[in-house]
């Protein structure tokens, strides 16, 4: 499977036949798709389709029942926790519910990965953290505790924390859900900018279709436990697959090719 060629494989993560069930409930029934390097890969799907569950498998928070997840040539499905700790340093993740440490203030939350994984001095940490917080326009809240922030601000802090180590792969679980349209757009722009600036591979779960066509380089549609459609936004809009069409139409973008032209 591994590619000995010196040029980096355009596929950063190859997901093949991933299955996950909870008791009788088969959530993932053989998910296969490629996460392309250096671009934003969006996963869409109805609520309850298993998008968050899929994320938990990709981060190996849980072990899939079957299938393989090959990150830069290494299958992470059979790995133990020690080996995973190394692989996970390539990843940053923004949780659906932010998951900020509520015992630490905003600054400490964002500084946490730097303290854990770098030998940076206090001053460097301060500068890097404040730069991130300023990017996301939450610098003024640096000394606030997470529970003193609005949901949208919490999300921005969570994005700042995920970005602070400049990971190769950034995973966002519904980054704009619960944000007002203006803040959503800021987060969208931030995701695009991060990809352009650092060349990070993005995996974004969302059902905010306005966001999808703004940020996506590739779209993967999760339906009934499988990825039933993958492609560029243009290909996706042109899809003939009935389930995909239904989802697009329900989102109100089924017929408007204008979205595709914006890019």
């Amino acid at each position: 499977m591994s590619d000995p060629a010196p040029a980096p494989d355009p596929v950063q993560i190859r997901i093949d036949g991933v299955e996950k069930r909870y008791g009788e409930h088969e959530v993932l029934r053989g998910v296969s798709f490629d996460v392309q390097r250096g671009i934003t890969n969006v996963i869409i799907g109805a609520s309850g389709a298993g998008k968050s569950v899929l994320m938990r498998q990709i981060m190996r928070l849980e072990r899939p029942d079957a299938g393989s997840i090959v990150v830069d040539g290494q299958d992470i499905v059979p790995m133990n926790e020690v080996a995973l700790t190394k692989v996970r340093r390539k990843f940053g993740m923004v949780f659906q519910a932010s998951a900020l440490f509520d015992s630490m203030d905003v600054f400490e939350n964002v500084a946490f990965p730097l303290r854990e994984h770098t030998k940076m001095r206090r001053k460097e940490i301060r500068e890097r953290v404040m730069a991130r917080l300023e990017d996301l326009e939450v610098a003024h809240a640096a000394r606030k505790m997470p529970d003193e922030l609005s949901g949208g601000m919490q999300k921005r802090v969570a994005v700042a924390r995920a970005l602070v180590l400049e990971p190769e792969v950034l995973i966002y679980d519904e980054p704009t859900t619960g944000l007002d349209p203006i803040t959503s757009r800021t987060v969208d722009e931030l995701m695009v900018r991060t990809r352009e600036q650092y060349g990070v591979t993005g995996i974004v779960i969302t059902h905010d279709m306005a966001s999808v066509f703004f940020i996506a380089d590739r779209i993967n549609y999760l339906y009934e436990g499988r990825i039933t459609a993958s492609g560029t936004p243009e290909e996706f809009l042109a899809s003939e697959d009935p389930a995909t069409r239904e989802f697009l139409e329900a989102s109100g973008v089924g017929t408007s090719a204008a979205f595709a032209k914006r890019r």
Binding site: R88, F91, A99, L100, F101, D102, S103, E116
Partner: protein, 287 residues
């Protein structure tokens, strides 16, 4: 395929309305509940042991987050000084009254110092210190770790390549194991002081005799027995508190239930382990 008609004579069985398959009769339910007790007990021991295995595995690995160990010691140890001291004082005082009152009946009140000293150092200090630490610090640790679990903060640690057992569980187990013995020493001192106050200042026993008896009868072995227990208890209650928090589920209500279980399991574990350790150390009691 269990039938729920053992209680009724065979002939009357067809008159009874058929039981819904999901709702067996009371006898079956009671039997199930009884069988569930040992099954759950051993399943729970399995879960705790697996968390302990992970804690040992990660505890010996870098990085050693000494700051977190100290924070946990501060929380468990320093934070419990007041409540443990207060408990020690009152246990000592009550014990003083009871023993003087009891021993006077056969004119043996001179021996009170000996009994107070032995009872406190061997039994009361470790057991009560551990119970107080568990209800104060153990429950708080379960709540803290449990709410981190249900709000994905533990997953966030994992995704940041920080092992949550190493980060959350190891420091607390270290702190519990070290701090409960220290609190037990404190309990000993304050408890004996409390008994002395009552016996000497209130009930007019001779101070010299009281202190002599404590000195004469309480030796290092008795102190050690208490401290060994304290080590075992401190380790166990920290482990149980972490286990309940770490695997909590079901939102805020689930964290509440986990906290409740944490305190109950800790108390039961303390009492059972107290018997086991006492029996092993004294060579009596059948173990």
């Amino acid at each position: 395929m269990t039938e729920s008609v053992q209680e009724a004579p065979a002939g009357s069985a067809e008159q009874l309305p058929p039981e819904a398959p999901g709702e067996p009769g009371i006898v079956i339910r009671a039997a199930d509940a009884l069988i569930a007790i040992p099954v759950n007990f051993f399943a729970e021991i399995g879960v705790v042991a697996s968390l302990l295995g992970q804690a040992l595995f990660w505890g010996i690995r870098r990085p050693y987050r000494v700051r977190l160990w100290i924070d946990a010691m501060d929380f468990i140890g320093v934070g419990s000084i007041f409540i443990v001291g207060l408990t020690g004082l009152f246990i000592g005082m009550v014990f003083g009254i009871q023993l003087v009152d009891g021993f006077r009946q056969f004119g043996a009140e001179n021996q009170v110092g000996a009994v107070v000293g032995l009872a406190l150092t061997r039994e009361l200090a470790p057991v009560f210190s551990a119970l107080m630490v568990s209800s104060r610090a153990g429950s708080a640790m379960t709540t803290e770790i449990g709410s981190m679990r249900v709000t994905s903060q533990i997953d966030a640690l994992t995704t940041m390549a920080v092992n949550p057992v190493q980060y959350l569980v190891v420091p607390r187990i270290i702190a519990g194991t070290l701090m409960v013995p220290l609190l037990t020493m404190l309990f000993n001192l304050i408890g004996i002081f409390g008994a002395w106050i009552i016996c000497v200042k209130v009930l007019a026993l001779d101070s010299g005799v009281f202190i002599d008896k404590v000195r004469w009868y309480v030796d290092l072995e008795d102190l050690n027995q208490g401290l060994i227990k304290a080590v075992v208890f401190g380790f166990t209650i920290a482990l149980i508190a972490c286990r309940q928090g770490f695997y909590a589920s079901g939102g805020a209500a689930g964290v509440g239930r986990a906290t409740n279980r944490s305190v109950v399991h800790s108390a039961v574990a303390i009492l059972i382990l107290d018997y086991i350790v006492t029996s092993l150390i004294t060579g009596q009691g059948g173990l």
